[in-house]
């Protein structure tokens, strides 16, 4: 059940011109309320922004300190700009835990697929899973593949494949090509967990469907309340029904999502 919690910024680290690594003291959000990576928290970003900003939790739970949660976010607009100017010790008004997370068990062979700022929400899954897993991480360019993020996968995954859109690091091209190659080589994958921009998720979902591997995708939509009341963040399902990213998601089974809208 979500609560309102005043959180303290424990540390702020700038990864590049527009990307920040923020550690928050979150009280009992992890311990009592079960906050974990892949969920989101809804943050009030100053008095000038009417709406809160939903920010994915990169690291929380598992063997992390129980009172901390890590957010890795990109400045996209005024709200996240305000958030990026926070300093250690600042207080934030937070609603959470919100949304589901990836549905994972310790059994199975997982393929984690992340793109850009969609890579961090997979960190906790990557570290918690005991069974063998492989990570495919895509970035626009080498400078966006932050070592502090990539190393979390390299330490815990059997294999970490990097891709860049411009070929400056790892494989040249989008992640779906790498995913296809892996699924062709290794038939033991039981589940794909994907987070990233919608076009990437769509192409990963298509490859997963082709190989008959179940795929979970973490989706984004413009959001207001964050708790399921306003029905703003609608996502159309294949059967024509609407689900909501904040309450039913952000993680959905890829085969349920209508990718053609």
């Amino acid at each position: 059940m979500p609560i309102q919690q005043i959180c303290t910024v424990a540390s702020m680290t700038q990864l590049d011109a527009s990307t920040w690594w923020m550690v928050l003291e979150v009280g009992k959000l992890v311990e009592q309320h079960g906050l974990t990576g892949g969920q989101f928290i809804h943050i009030k970003c100053g008095d000038d922004q009417l709406l809160r900003r939903p920010i994915s939790v990169a690291i929380a739970g598992w063997d992390e300190p129980a009172d901390l949660a890590t957010l890795i976010f990109e400045v996209r607009g005024e709200g996240t700009r305000w958030l990026s100017q926070c300093k250690e010790g600042d207080k934030l008004d937070v609603l959470g835990p919100l949304g589901n997370s990836f549905d994972v068990s310790r059994e199975g062979h997982y393929l984690l697929v992340g793109g850009g700022i969609g890579v961090p929400p997979l960190i906790t899954c990557g570290e918690w899973l005991k069974w063998p897993r492989t990570a495919v991480l895509g970035f626009r360019t080498k400078d966006k593949a932050f070592p502090s993020v990539v190393s979390r996968f390299e330490e815990h995954c059997e294999k970490t494949c990097l891709c860049t859109d411009d070929g400056t690091l790892g494989r040249h091209g989008f992640v779906d090509g790498q995913v296809r190659d892996l699924l062709e080589q290794d038939k033991s994958f039981t589940q794909i967990l994907a987070c990233g921009p919608k076009p990437m998720l769509k192409s990963v979902a298509a490859v997963a469907a082709e190989f008959g591997v179940p795929c979970q995708v973490s989706m984004e939509e413009r959001m207001a309340c964050g708790v399921g009341a306003c029905l703003g963040c609608a996502l159309r399902m294949k059967d024509g029904s609407m689900k909501h990213v904040c309450k039913d998601g952000p993680v959905f089974n890829a085969e349920e999502v209508d990718w053609d809208v």
């Binding site: 809160r52 939509e221 708790v227 399921g228 809208v261």
Partner: protein
């Protein structure tokens, strides 16, 4: 009303928790109750339709019995999936929405949601939209029988092509819809007015002539936001309804005009986020206020508005908040 139970203990546990910033102070010397067409609200703060679902989500944060009333998410005779996303765009001190009346239909509401709401000691106001005047009548009958306390007739949703806005902008249609609703409702009927008209008092008079027991205003103002790089509107429906603090002065003005034109009780709404905002609506002539968009910034906003309003009344030496209603002294 027979099913009312003690609120769930976990709900009241959360509200008292040290983690929330809500002030539970209430000045008990001030009578907060208001009468809305014979329906007594325990306090003048209700939550606005479309911002509160059917109460389950915000019921996780506080005990719903704290509210003066709940205007439920707008219902239609049959389920609706609503509009394609994006449905939300933030604007300066406001937001646009084009949800498009997504709802499970009136029968599912009665079966699945009303029993939950009835577990709380709170006035339940169902909000309805019809494609035809007859549909309003059918829904009024079903909801009256199911035992809601009041029905809010939405003649003003800007996001639906059929019906909706036309009823809210033509006095003859507004009167007809009100008559059809009144004919089959056995609980008070409140008509929700659109601000997207030249003269809102025309529609208010038409609703009064049609037999409305109360009025609520304003619904959202039609607006638009464009992404200058993609040259696309943010909303998939291109336009949507504007709410939030940006609309407050427009709403206060319209409540004042309507209060001067008709003798019906009014729920005033549009951008209320503080007790002072609420007091403005009451002074302009409203009996109660609805809090909507402010919830998205702060789930406890309705309770804060209630307590701040009580404090204002106490400071002014009033024994009841209803003494504020219509108290504006125009130049």
């Amino acid at each position: 009303m027979s099913e009312k139970k003690t609120p769930r203990p976990e709900a009241s546990g959360i509200i008292g928790g040290a983690t929330t910033s809500v002030a539970l102070f209430q000045d008990r010397s001030v009578d907060l109750s208001v009468d809305l067409a014979g329906v007594v609200l325990k306090n003048p703060v209700v939550v606005a339709s479309g911002t509160f679902g059917f109460g389950r989500e915000y019921g996780q944060f506080f005990d719903l019995s704290e509210l003066g009333g709940i205007c439920c998410k707008g219902l239609t005779l049959h389920p609706r999936e609503g509009n394609p996303p994006p449905r939300i765009a933030e604007t300066p001190l406001g937001m646009l929405n084009s949800v498009g009346l997504q709802n499970p239909g009136v029968d599912a509401f009665i079966r699945d949601e009303l029993p939950f709401l009835r577990q709380h000691d709170v006035t339940v106001i169902a909000n309805i939209s019809g494609n035809t005047p007859e549909e309003y009548g059918v829904m009024c009958e079903k909801l009256s029988e199911a035992g809601v306390d009041m029905i809010e007739v939405n003649i003003s949703c800007p996001n639906v092509k059929a019906g909706g806005l036309a009823y809210g902008t033509r006095p003859d249609l507004a009167a007809e819809v009100t008559q059809k609703a009144k004919k089959r409702a056995t609980v008070p009927v409140m008509v929700k007015l659109s601000p997207n008209v030249t003269d809102i008092t025309e529609i208010a008079r038409a609703a009064a002539d049609g037999g409305a027991d109360a009025l609520s205003l304003i619904n959202t103002l039609r607006g638009m936001r464009i992404d200058v790089n993609s040259r696309r509107p943010i909303l998939k429906m291109n336009t949507g309804g504007l709410s939030g603090p940006a609309v407050l002065p427009v709403a206060v003005r319209m409540v004042w005009e309507v209060a001067n034109a008709v003798k019906l009780p009014i729920i005033g709404m549009g951008g209320v986020s503080t007790g002072e905002d609420a007091a403005q609506f009451l002074l302009a002539g409203a009996s109660a206020v609805a809090v909507g968009t402010a919830l998205f910034a702060d789930p406890f906003a309705p309770l804060k508005v209630r307590d701040e309003l009580a404090a204002i009344a106490a400071r002014q030496g009033l024994s009841a908040v209803r003494e504020l209603t219509g108290g504006v002294q125009p130049w």
